[in-house]
């Protein structure tokens, strides 16, 4: 392996380079010419260009670029997804931040930097690049979560949320680093080496301990029980675009990294690790759903529901061992895609009716939405039904994949808990829908941002289309995911 980077190496790295370029461009714009519209437009355009370049790069994959990054179809697929999410969030942030009479443009800078971190995460098969990606994403997210909105009616406690997230995330990262260090001390290498074949001198117990530490750190980021305490508070306290980004890219990039690590290191061959993952999954599915029953704040409900969905995903992850490995990887990929679409839609609807001055984050704010804004209510209903896993939506196809993966791995206990969890989930999703159906009493009307929201509505319409089309005719995407997953 050459120690120098050649031109041939740079070609697959183009998406990453372009995205970084966009970040630099936004920074320069902030320094030279402050203009919200210009910054937002440049961000979206830059991300769009990066997207096109990513698609063009596919023919150069797979390639290991430096020992740190692997650019294959799997990582490129998720790079595309991450870039699209970032562009959509930028579109949603525009009307949200429209009236903020303060520094607004830095938000887009943070968004782009976080995207760079996410792209590094999905392309890494080395602990150093993984750590770099995680930290880049996290530090940008700390600032996004704590973004000052100067409004008591908006995101209630951005600073509190930011500090909570920062401190706990730092602890989790430290735990993860400890695990990585333990592995390094035995294998002598920081790549995702196959731990079963590495013949670790200190024995299985040592490896298991190291893996559990790493998993603990990762489980924090994925907000799984029992590392989930930060989630509802941070979701509630952060501005909506930051929450949406955290819920989608924050989770997706981390999960892709975890998936690649699990596959490359064969971590599921260690029974203690499988037990730990199963316990975490079970606790998350039950805990996430049960705790959501008590909430009346929409952001907190979505936070707990994301805990539950990550629990469901873990079921597919555990199925990645043995005969059902391919199916498990497909299931994780498809469900991540479905989860991103649903979450973006749900948060997007909140963002359309909210602004930095007042967020509509209580369920009671949406009372009678069917009669006030029927199309918005329909959108919201579709997203909620998808989260509940009703057929005709992409959420159901995701559940289908999950259950099939669970069946192939014979994970009967976990599947039963999945059913129980879904049943509980149905209750609080339907409760929101019911609230929207009730006749509207004295409700403050939504303050529209006017023409600035056009982009948001377009994105929401697109997400709805994806949700329905992939719920009814997913054959094309199924094939794509199958081919992408076979790379791993």
């Amino acid at each position: 392996m050459n120690d120098t980077i050649t031109a041939a190496d740079l070609l697959p790295l183009l998406p990453l380079i372009v995205t970084t370029g966009v970040a630099v461009l936004v920074m320069l714009l902030v320094a030279m010419r402050r203009n919200h519209t210009l910054t937002c437009a440049s961000t979206i355009t830059g991300l769009g260009i990066a997207l096109i370049i990513t698609v063009l790069t596919i023919e150069y994959a797979p390639q290991q670029v430096t020992p740190l990054l692997i650019i294959d179809q799997f990582s490129l697929f998720f790079t595309v997804v991450v870039l699209i999410i970032a562009a959509f969030i930028a579109v949603f942030s525009y009307p949200y931040l429209y009236r903020l009479h303060d520094e607004v443009e830095e938000f887009y800078l943070l968004l782009t930097v976080a995207t760079v971190g996410a792209i590094v995460m999905v392309s890494s098969n080395h602990f150093i690049s993984a750590f770099l990606g995680i930290e880049t994403l996290s530090i940008a997210l700390y600032a996004m979560v704590a973004y000052p909105l100067h409004s008591k009616d908006a995101a209630k406690f951005p600073l509190e949320a930011g500090i909570k997230y920062l401190v706990l995330s730092a602890v989790a990262t430290a735990v993860m680093l400890f695990g990585i260090a333990l592995l390094y001390s035995q294998t002598g290498s920081l790549t995702f080496v196959n731990l079963v074949q590495a013949n670790i001198e200190a024995g299985v117990g040592f490896t298991t301990l190291a893996l559990l530490l790493i998993i603990a750190g990762i489980a924090f980021k994925l907000s799984l029980v029992p590392f989930h305490i930060w989630t509802p508070d941070v979701y509630e306290g952060a501005p909506l675009p930051a929450t949406a980004f955290l819920a989608t890219t924050g989770k997706a990039a981390m999960f892709v990294l975890l998936l690649r690590f699990v596959v490359d290191s064969d971590a599921l061959s260690f029974p203690a690790v499988v037990t730990a993952l199963s316990l975490i999954a079970a606790a998350s599915m039950l805990g996430g759903n049960i705790l959501a029953l008590l909430q009346s704040n929409l952001k907190r409900i979505l936070a707990y529901s994301s805990i539950a969905h990550m629990g469901y995903l873990f079921v597919a992850l555990i199925a990645v061992s043995g005969a059902g490995a391919g199916l498990g990887i497909e299931a994780v990929s498809f469900y991540l895609l479905a989860y991103i679409v649903m979450s973006l839609g749900a948060f997007g609807i909140s963002m359309v009716v909210s602004s930095s001055e007042k967020e509509m984050d209580f369920v009671s704010d949406y009372e009678g939405l069917f009669w006030r804004e029927p199309w918005l209510a329909l959108l919201f209903t579709a997203m909620l039904l998808s989260l509940a896993g009703i057929p005709l939506t992409i959420g159901f196809m995701g559940k289908f994949y999950l259950v099939l993966a669970g069946v192939s791995g014979s994970l009967w206990m976990l599947l039963t808990l999945l059913v129980v969890g879904s049943g509980i989930g149905v209750y609080y999703y339907l409760r929101i829908i019911y609230r929207m159906l009730m006749p509207a009493t004295d409700i403050t009307p939504f303050k529209e941002a006017g023409w600035a929201s056009i982009g948001s509505y377009a994105v929401l319409a697109f997400l709805l289309a994806i949700l329905l089309i992939l719920g009814v005719y997913p054959a094309a995407v199924m094939g794509l995911i199958e081919s992408v997953s076979n790379i791993l």
Binding site: A388, P391, K399, L404, V407, L418, L437, A475, G479
Partner: protein, 496 residues
């Protein structure tokens, strides 16, 4: 192709009905009625154009089509109509017309959205009755749920939120268990034949061990037993039926319950013959318990719709009994009961709903002595009560008699216990009649002027249903011929 057109027409009709409300407040119900009439016509076109024996595996199918849908997992858009499905589809569309008639003047708020939900529920049900690909079946099974939930949640009565939520959660959780069972079956197909398949005929070839077969069968059974409903999964039904608007109750009682029975006949017993045979004593005991227990509970109700709801559970117990007896008489009895109960329960709910619409109460303590005031309604109620209790000459008797006859050959004790249910049926049917229409006229909280008799439109609907029940009672062979084709095939076993 006609079959696909029927389903698409139901979906599209729903959308048109919803949108037509903006044109004219009275349009949605007319659009709905028109859609259903056209669909009924198309059903006749579909069956007359092709006699039985068109395509497919065993020559008893009127219609059969299979199109690629999700090739990754061998999921096809596979539909088929044979004698049994034909009867069920006809029942569905017929009761759809009745429901529209019941809702004609009752639903005034957001009527367009109501008829949209009604038609989409019916579309889901028609899909359930004709789907042969197990995942497509599951799709339609779930599609039935949401529009019905909305019907109960928006246009229901005082406790609608609780009833709608309970209905949804019960059906959803049991449906998920069925999904796991379906996927286990598909996965075993993959293990044994190297390729995923959800095709009904392909999956019947899968060899499961004793234990797995029992579990998978139970997964299916939970879903269908919740829908039937069978004790102990029946507690959603009284709430859902009594809180739903009249048209919703008609569809729930007349059509949705039958999907559970249909699922048992089409999927559970043919796909898992050994496990079903082993489980039959348990299932038949649950059926007997349903019959007796729910009859007794019905007797204790003061809410008229709740009473009729419990009697529905009781009658569906006969269906379960017949299905698990698994011989030709019992199955024919089950099918006849499904058809006859569909009509009689729908009519009884229409009556109860009409009564509630007039006097705004369902409490039988506030009713009494109505015969003199509303003689037409009383006579119609008498007819359908008598039908429900199983009077020979009407359809319910044929069904229950055949079911008991067939079950007697399998399990004497349970049949005897279930037969006692016939006595109890007489008790509660005549009890309702006595309390509502006879006795002293109580001055309830309503004005007597609101208690108007049945109008011409309502008499037409009831008249058609009465004719149907008489036809079933006097000449059931016409129905039994159609179902015999399917049942004979299912009894001899699917081709393996």
């Amino acid at each position: 192709m006609t079959l696909v057109m029927i389903i698409i027409l139901l979906f599209a009709g729903g959308l048109v009905a919803w949108l037509s409300e903006y044109a004219n407040a009275g349009m949605p119900r007319k659009v709905t009625m028109l859609t259903l009439a056209v669909c009924l016509l198309l059903v006749f076109v579909m069956v007359s154009g092709a006699g039985p024996g068109v395509a497919a595996v065993d020559g008893s199918w009127f219609v059969y089509l299979k199109a690629e849908w999700m090739p990754r997992f061998g999921i096809y858009f596979q539909l088929g109509v044979d004698g049994l499905s034909l009867l069920m589809v006809l029942l569905t569309l017929f009761l759809g017309v009745m429901a529209t008639g019941a809702a004609w003047s009752e639903i005034t708020e957001r009527a367009g959205f109501f008829y949209f939900n009604l038609l989409w529920t019916l579309a889901g049900v028609v899909g359930v009755f004709t789907a042969l690909d197990l995942l497509l079946f599951f799709f339609f099974w779930e599609i039935m749920l949401i529009p019905m939930y909305l019907i109960i949640a928006i246009w229901g009565h005082e406790n609608k939120n609780y009833a709608a939520m309970k209905f949804f959660i019960f059906t959803q959780v049991s449906g998920l268990l069925m999904l796991i069972a379906i996927l286990v079956l598909a996965y075993f197909h993959y293990l044994q034949f190297g390729v995923y398949s959800f095709d009904y005929f392909e999956l019947s070839r899968v060899r499961l061990g004793n234990q797995p077969e029992m579990w998978v069968m139970l997964g299916f059974f939970f879903a269908f037993a919740t829908k039937l409903p069978s004790v102990p999964f029946h507690s959603w039904l009284p709430d859902a039926h009594s809180q739903a608007p009249t048209a919703g109750s008609v569809i729930l009682a007349g059509v949705l319950l039958k999907t559970g029975a249909y699922g048992l006949i089409r999927f559970t017993l043919p796909l898992f013959p050994d496990a079903s045979a082993a489980f039959a004593p348990v299932a038949m005991s649950l059926a007997a318990i349903s019959i007796i227990y729910c009859a007794k509970v019905a007797f204790a109700q003061t809410d008229i719709k709740r009473l009729i709801a419990y009697t529905s559970v009781s009658h569906m117990g006969f269906v379960t009994l017949g299905v698990f007896a698994w011989n030709i008489q019992a199955l024919q009895g089950a099918v006849m009961t499904m058809l006859a109960h569909g009509l009689s329960a729908a009519a009884l709910f229409m009556l109860a709903g009409g009564l509630q619409h007039r006097i705004h109460t369902r409490n039988m303590d506030e009713m009494g002595g109505f015969w003199a005031k509303v003689p037409r309604m009383a006579v119609v109620a008498l007819f359908f009560s008598v039908a429900a209790l199983g009077m020979p000459g009407l359809g319910n008797f044929v069904g229950e008699f055949l079911a008991l006859l067939g079950a007697f050959r399998v399990n004497v004790a349970l049949t005897v216990i279930s037969a006692i249910g016939l006595v109890l049926a007489s008790v509660y049917s005549l009890w309702v009649l006595q309390r509502v229409f006879q006795g002293k006229f109580t001055d309830g909280q309503y004005s007597i002027d609101t208690l108007t008799d049945l109008g011409r439109r309502e008499m037409v609907f009831y008249g058609v249903m009465m004719a149907g029940l008489v036809w079933m009672g006097l000449y059931p062979q016409s129905f039994l011929n159609l179902s015999a084709m399917t049942l004979d095939t299912l009894l001899t076993g699917l081709p393996r």
